[in-house]
């Protein structure tokens, strides 16, 4: 096997300095055994494994052994392979623990649905010889949207008047993308800040990771809508606000004293969603959208359509400020 890999590397990457040559895998079932210098063969395509992808959360680095950074030997492109991994894990949203499933076939289906739609990550699937669905994904060169927003080096007022209108306009586009999925009876499944990326070259907002599946019946798109609302709260505030972060920001006590339980998120009880109380120049039309997520609200958005109507109205108003 090693000599076969060596031949492949010499054929497709004659200038490669690689000195270690692994095995060729046509069956990816035991994905923990596939590592650097191995080659995954799918149909007639060959993918040289460079490393396992990692997730960085809460200061910890967590290797994702089923997600491989690879070089597609036939084209020389660096890509990501997501191997079939039928994981079930608890997802925590506020006080709730929701049973979440990782579904290769959901991601496969959505990749087909959004092919050519650059509001989403792009890729395709192929089965290995054991029938495992492997998703071949293009890498988005860019940064998470929240990191981009956090790094804008201006005070909030300047951010709100000079940067936010364009950000809101693009975010509306990202919401329309999720609405497109819903119209096709598909859920994104994990709408959160680190799954919306800003492509460096184009500035486009693009969604990633569609393999989360849940059992939701009466409100099948509720989690996606909650995710979109939470991102909007972050974008409006240029941060998430808890009492602790507000104190760290040096927020005046005259403002802090006005906060009551109705100003906090209905789901994440310590997060302020009434951002207008922090920054009084935020127009009502925008703040009212955020208040749909508050514990004082009795009316919640049932569809992204409803949110889009309000966001578009608000954008018009903000543009005219």
């Amino acid at each position: 096997m090693t000599s076969d890999v060596k031949k492949l590397i010499h054929k497709y990457m004659p200038d490669s300095p690689m000195s270690r040559f692994g095995k060729i895998f046509t069956d990816t079932t035991e994905f923990m055994n596939i590592d650097y210098s191995d080659v995954i063969k799918l149909g007639n395509e060959h993918f040289l494994v460079l490393k396992n992808e990692q997730e960085r959360r809460f200061g910890l680095v967590d290797p994702k052994y089923w997600v491989k950074r690879v070089k597609h030997l036939e084209s020389g492109r660096t890509q990501i392979l997501k191997l079939a991994f039928y994981e079930t894990f608890p997802m925590h949203i506020g006080p709730f623990e929701i049973k979440c499933y990782r579904s290769p076939r959901k991601e496969d289906r959505i990749l087909k649905l959004v092919k050519g739609d650059m509001r989403f990550m792009q890729g395709y699937s192929n089965d290995d010889i054991a029938g495992n669905n492997v998703r071949v994904l293009d890498i988005i060169r860019g940064k998470r949207l929240d990191v981009v927003v956090h790094d804008i080096p201006v005070d909030h007022k300047t951010y709100f008047y000079e940067y936010f209108p364009d950000i809101l306009e693009k975010f509306i586009g990202a919401c329309e993308a999720i609405n497109f999925l819903h119209r096709h009876d598909e859920k994104h499944g994990d709408v959160r800040r680190d799954h919306l990326w800003v492509e460096s070259e184009t500035g486009a907002y693009r969604w990633i990771d569609f393999d989360y599946a849940f059992e939701l019946y009466e409100n099948p798109f509720g989690l996606d809508i909650f995710g979109l609302g939470s991102i909007l709260v972050y974008l409006v505030g240029k941060a998430n606000f808890t009492m602790q972060t507000l104190l760290e920001l040096g927020t005046e006590s005259s403002i802090l004293n006005t906060l009551n339980s109705g100003d906090y998120s209905v789901v994440i009880g310590n997060r302020v969603v009434n951002v207008k109380k922090i920054y009084n120049y935020i127009p009502n039309s925008l703040n009212n959208i955020l208040m749909h997520l508050s514990s004082s609200s009795s009316v919640f958005y049932e569809s992204v359509d409803e949110m889009l109507v309000d966001m578009n109205k608000s954008l018009k108003e903000i543009r005219s400020l």
Binding site: F96, S103, R105, K106, A213, Y217, E218, N219, V267, S295
Partner: protein, 162 residues
Amino acid sequence: MTLNKILVAFDGSENSFNAVEYVGNIMKNYPISLILILYVERLPDKDLYRDDETWVSQCKKNEIEMTEKLSLAKQTLIKQGVSADVVTYQYFASCKSPFHDTDICTTGRSIGMDILRIREEGNYDTVVIGRRGVTKAEEFLFGSVSTKVVQSAADCTVWVVN
């Protein structure tokens, strides 16, 4: 108030059996033309299964289990003294069901709206539904069939049984 035709929304849970019993207690001595115990199918999400075969097998298992519960609910009413002639049940299948090929089916978008659609089409005077008592946050994230029915019902009476 007319009590001619009653639709009892049923999902096999303890709450929905409570709703059935509540109806039985009231209706055992009351002249009525029909009590429909309605189950709107909730197919298991296909994405939670490795292949269609496993999913179909789970669908079958669920349907058998639910049909048994529907039958039990009907017997509960009869035992309480409601005439067997006026009690019936319906398994309202999903449009995506692997076993049913019907023109009228549930899309799975909203069970509450399906219940109200059948209520309207069948001219039921009263809808009866059990409630779990969800919090506002749960309602936001996961929805609530009883809340949906209460909020959207028109031209009928709704009994919510806690």
